[in-house]
């Protein structure tokens, strides 16, 4: 029931947001997201002690078609629910400094997005998963379309068509597997897992499912919607996309692709890993030559996401555990860094690296917080980024040392583009316009300090998170190992 509440609460709050009220809508949204966060904390404590049936909910939805409203949580789902419900309040808080038109619609869409994401991460029924998967696209589409930059219409359309195409291929695959289930057919995840697919079927189904996930992550070369969309979307849209939504793709790989098609994985996994790692290097090089800081971060996110995907295809505990913890770390860090972009843009009215400089002189607090987030992003030990990157590269190394060596170039290139942009924005002679940069708003401080605290705490003591997901990851891996 608790889980159901986590999905329904944002939906109800979204409706309240739409209604006019004396209370400012952003406060309503914030309160709702904080309640969600509290409930998530309660869910974690339940999960550790005695989950009972609080963290699952199962009822028939369309019984004749074997479709049920079945949601549940293992460690993997729980981690992503934590990610979502930690980030959404921060994202809402980050918008306090922006004045959006039609704020009621804006916050309602953000909360709708939250509900859909939690649905994606907890669905234990293929059909339900697909519904939530597509549902999540709708609010983000409108957020980008209504509050985005000047070129938003063209770019949002491209993004929409791109992801829809991938999703539809997955739907075809899903229905095909559903039709292989025995008896009156069922979309329940356990039944889908149990279908024994011929290796011929596996090889085409694998690509159909992969299409949906690879576009969402995105894996090179299916990424061209990403830099455009990240750059044009409003700050909060970018944060939702990069912080949480791309994890739908990596989550999909772990929850669906790995257990469903172990044989195909054995056959094509290496190729996909090759593409993912090519993407890591490629995106890092693209980041090197960007002048727009937001676009630079978009490419850096692409590199990080590629590494997560590569780690998943290593198909060992280290790699997938690394992917899990890196999903959390990347989500937090990328939201932090996109917020840095937004804070700079609010004050300087530009994101162009050429026009920035010397901010460190007048705003030491901002400098320190930027530095901490940067360190998390370049995976310095004792920050959250290191734990993930270490486990990912270690997992990849066990799969293939050469792949790891290639992927490891991110260690160098990441430092290059991050330090370059840091230097250009923060260091050097101060610019005249910098006087705008005095102080940070309270909401800005709260967001950045929370993120910095998470970066350091989970970097020093990641054990609880790793413990949380390990059994579930082993469970997923056992599906693969059965085949070999």
């Amino acid at each position: 029931m608790l889980l159901l509440a986590l999905i329904i609460l944002p939906l109800i709050a979204a409706m309240f947001c739409l209604a006019p009220d004396v209370m400012p809508v952003r406060m309503k949204a914030l309160v709702s997201s904080l309640v969600s966060l509290g409930l998530t904390a309660y869910a974690v404590s339940l999960y550790i002690t005695d989950p009972g049936d609080m963290l699952a909910f199962d009822t028939w939805w369309i019984k004749d078609l074997g479709i049920s409203f079945n949601v549940g949580m293992d460690g993997i789902s729980l981690l992503l629910v934590i990610l979502t419900n930690v980030l959404v309040p921060l994202i809402i808080l980050s918008s306090f400094g922006s004045d959006y038109d039609r704020p009621r619609t804006f916050y309602a869409l953000v909360l709708l997005m939250q509900a859909a994401l939690i649905g994606v991460f907890t669905s234990m029924d293929g059909f339900l998963f697909y519904i939530f998967w597509e549902l999540a696209l709708i609010p983000i589409y409108f957020i980008c379309l209504m509050w985005g930059g000047s070129d938003r219409i063209r770019i949002t359309l491209k993004f929409f068509i791109y992801t829809m195409t991938g999703s539809l291929l997955m739907l075809v695959g899903l229905i095909y597997i559903y039709l292989q289930t025995p008896g009156t057919h069922s979309f329940a995840i356990a039944d889908l897992y149990n279908v024994s697919l011929s290796s011929g079927d596996q090889s085409w189904l694998f690509w159909f499912f992969l299409a949906a996930f690879a576009v969402k992550i995105p894996i090179f070369p299916l990424h061209t919607w990403q830099p455009d969309t990240y750059t044009e979307a409003p700050a909060q849209g970018t944060m939702l996309l990069s912080g949480i939504m791309l994890k739908m793709g990596t989550y999909g790989l772990i929850r669906w692709l790995l257990p469903l098609f172990p044989q195909a994985l054995n056959e094509y996994g290496g190729i996909i890993m090759g593409f993912a790692i090519t993407g890591v290097i490629y995106a890092s090089c693209m980041a090197l030559v960007q002048k727009d800081f937001k676009r630079l971060i978009a490419y850096s996110s692409l590199a990080h996401a590629g590494l997560i995907a590569a780690g998943i295809f290593s198909m060992n505990t280290e790699g997938i555990q690394g992917a899990m913890i890196q999903m959390l770390a990347h989500g937090v860090n990328v939201v932090g860094i996109f917020f840095i972009v937004e804070i700079i843009q609010r004050r300087m009215k530009t994101r162009s690296l050429d026009n920035l400089g010397g901010i460190a002189h007048i705003n030491p607090v901002f400098t320190i917080l930027f530095m901490i987030i940067l360190l998390g992003s370049v995976a310095l030990p004792l920050t959250n980024g290191f734990v993930g990157e270490f486990l990912l590269l270690n997992g990849i190394f066990q799969y293939s040392p050469w792949m790891a060596a290639a992927a490891g170039l991110t260690v160098i290139l990441g430092a290059v583009y991050m330090l370059r942009s840091y230097q250009q924005i923060m260091l050097g002679e101060p610019r005249e316009k910098n006087n705008e940069f005095t102080g940070l708003r309270v909401s800005e401080k709260v967001v950045l300090i929370s993120i910095a605290a998470i970066i350091i705490c989970t970097g020093i003591y990641p054990k609880p998170i790793l413990l949380l997901t390990e059994p579930a990851v082993e469970e997923i891996l056992s599906h693969i190992k059965q085949v070999y």
Binding site: E318, L380, P381, A415, E429
Partner: protein, 631 residues
């Protein structure tokens, strides 16, 4: 006492936090005193640990703090290892570190942002201590990257200056190149041994035969890390640039401690390196080439700190040669003596720069011994120590390295001896040009000349004493006195087999020859720069080709820029335009366009005429039925 050892790194961390939080609310004296006090406390605890370890030669102590990364087969705890090796390093870091902290109170007196400086300095000490105390490769790596970060922050301390910022960035990135090798080495250790903790790896390594390919690969990869951190060819170019940082930083990070991390790491891994003779050769040759190469560059530099920087690169090369021939304890011995005299030399240079109103060019100095008597005296001791004059500290460690190398290979011995000659030349050149002859600076500088305050000169005197007598802990065999250092390190270092001790005859010859050579060099250098009053030429004069080549540091930076940095940016931007926007995206948009075009064709049938729809529907049904019949 061993239970308090966790305090050793935690105290400087505390200092970092306290000073960082108080920031500009406290005076330079207070922030400096807090920072120094923290390091002093760590030093005192380290001293007690030294006696503890010395008395009790039993097993090393492992102190587990908490589980860090634990999942699947990976089980990395955040734990410390207290043994003879780490204690030696602890003493050097906290001891020399403390002196440099005290010195900085005077040196940074006019710096408005002093709290940031001392906070970073404490943070550096914290990470450096983590590096040497870690009981597994990952904790070591955490310290390893952490000191790199502090190095970055401190080189770019004066961040208004773009050149300084570039130097800082270069240091971090060059180090990261090495770190990737280190990291891959750790992965290979993990896949080979199933663990990264020193205890388990080294005991499992005993089951491997000498020359094992995997061990060779591991040691080579780890060595890549050492090349980056300890500024060896081809990754050394960041170290001379790192002199952009405040001088105490150069003394602490870029001479005494951080840059020796690579040597520490190899000594720590000596079990593995002893199994990989091929790597040993690679290490020795890399060190040798670096030693010679950097020494030649040192001959022609005119910036007082740059000379010392190249000298550091060269001396680190010495240490690697010692490591390469399996003389791990000798390398460590040189780390210790080098920490004394090189920290001393840098701090003296700082004192000179301080007196000269930030002038660093030795062509504008000269005759400073009158105004800076203490600095002059201590600098002379440092110079004698590094040049290898008995009985100063450098003599013992350097001669020991030469003796060990002689056993290993004659050509190496010859080249390394040549480097000693070069070292003596560039150091005395520096000494004479700075302190003797006539003053060549401006009038304004001349009136401003003054000896540094006591807070700066006392650390100089302490380091001078250490540089003078520090070598006595490692007496050569012929003196009949015990080699205390080697005895202390005995339980830890697994020696590669030697063909016996160097002969007495050889040792005596070596000593006598080196002393005579040294005296000749000193006289010759004095004659050239003082009696004949030669002053090095600057950029404005056309230099002879070879001199010009050396003066410009063999154009290594320019080569790197032309071969790596610029092509990477160039290729990336071409790919960005042609591939990213011009190709991949075109395909995507092209697909979209095809669909749109196709839709335009099919749109024709959407006439809105219901009759047409019904007509085509019936045609369709008939077609389906027909198909059904046929099939």
């Amino acid at each position: 006492m061993i239970n308090l050892s966790w305090l050793i790194p935690v105290l400087p961390l505390l200092g970092f936090i306290v000073i960082g939080v108080l920031n500009k609310r406290i005076s330079v004296n207070l922030s400096g005193i807090i920072a120094s006090a923290m390091v002093l406390c760590s030093f005192i605890i380290s001293c007690t640990l030294f006696f503890y370890v010395k008395e009790d030669s039993s097993v090393p102590e492992y102190i587990k703090m908490f589980d860090w990364i634990k999942t699947g087969g990976v089980d990395i705890s955040f734990s410390f290892l207290i043994d003879r090796l780490s204690v030696i390093m602890l003493l050097v870091i906290t001891g020399v570190g403390f002196l440099i902290h005290v010195y900085s109170i005077g040196y940074m007196h006019h710096e408005p942002d002093h709290s940031r400086f001392f906070a970073y300095l404490n943070l550096f000490i914290f990470f450096m201590l983590i590096l040497v105390m870690g009981s597994n490769y990952i904790v070591m790596f955490a310290g390893w990257e952490g000191v790199g970060l502090c190095s970055y922050l401190l080189i770019g301390f004066w961040f208004k200056n773009t050149d300084y910022n570039n130097a800082a960035k270069k240091a971090f990135i060059m180090n990261r190149i090495g770190d990737l090798g280190f990291l891959l080495g750790i992965f290979l250790i993990y896949t080979t041994f199933g663990s990264v903790s020193f205890r388990e790896v080294f005991s499992a390594a005993k089951g491997f035969t000498t020359g094992d390919a995997t061990i060779t690969a591991i040691t080579l990869l780890l060595f890549v890390g050492a090349i980056g951190k300890s500024a060896q060819l081809p990754l050394y170019t960041w170290l001379p640039d790192a002199m952009a940082g405040p001088t105490p930083v150069s003394a602490l990070i870029h001479a005494a401690t951080m840059v020796t991390a690579g040597i520490y790491m190899i000594v720590r891994s000596n079990v593995l390196y002893s199994l990989a003779p091929f790597t040993g050769e690679v290490v020795a040759i890399t060190g040798l080439i670096t030693a010679v190469f950097a020494a030649t560059i040192g001959l022609k530099q005119n910036d007082i700190k740059k000379v010392l920087a190249y000298s550091t690169v060269s001396q680190l090369g010495y240490m690697f040669v010692a490591l390469g021939v399996g003389a791990y304890d000798t390398a460590l011995f040189h780390v210790v003596t080098h920490a004394f005299f090189k920290a001393l030399l840098f701090l003296c240079a700082g004192s000179v720069i301080h007196a000269m109103s930030n002038e660093q060019d030795i062509r504008n100095m000269g005759g400073l011994k009158k105004q800076l008597p203490i600095t002059h005296f201590t600098f002379l001791i440092g110079t004698l120590a590094i040049a290898g004059m008995p009985p100063f500290a450098g003599f013992f460690s350097k001669d020991e390295i030469l003796a060990k190398v002689h056993e290993h290979s004659l050509p190496m011995f010859v080249l390394l001896s040549l480097t000693s000659v070069l070292t003596a030349i560039y150091m005395f050149r520096l000494y004479y040009l700075t302190f003797h002859g006539n003053f060549r600076g401006s009038e304004q500088q001349k009136t401003h000349l003054h000896e540094s305050p006591g807070v700066m000169t006392i650390p100089l005197l302490v380091l001078a004493v250490l540089s003078a007598v520090g070598g006595f802990i490692g007496m050569p065999a012929i003196t009949g006195l015990p080699h205390l250092f080697s005895e202390f390190m005995q339980p830890l270092v697994s020696f590669r087999h030697h063909d016996g001790e160097p002969s007495e005859m050889f040792e005596i010859t070596l000593m006598v020859v080196s002393v005579i050579a040294l005296i000749v060099i000193i006289l010759a250098v004095r004659n050239y720069y003082i009696s004949k009053k030669n002053v090095p030429e600057g950029e404005e004069v056309k230099l002879a080709p070879l001199t010009s080549l050396i003066y410009n540091k063999y154009y290594i930076d320019e080569i790197y820029a032309a071969v790596i940095t610029r092509p990477l940016d160039k290729i990336s931007s071409i790919v960005y335009r042609r591939v990213e926007n011009g190709f991949i995206d075109k395909i995507v948009n092209g697909t979209g366009n095809i669909v749109t075009a196709a839709s335009n064709v099919f749109r024709v049938v959407q006439t809105g005429n219901i009759g047409f729809y019904i007509f085509s529907m019936i045609i369709g049904i008939i077609a389906l039925l027909a198909l059904n019949l046929i099939l």
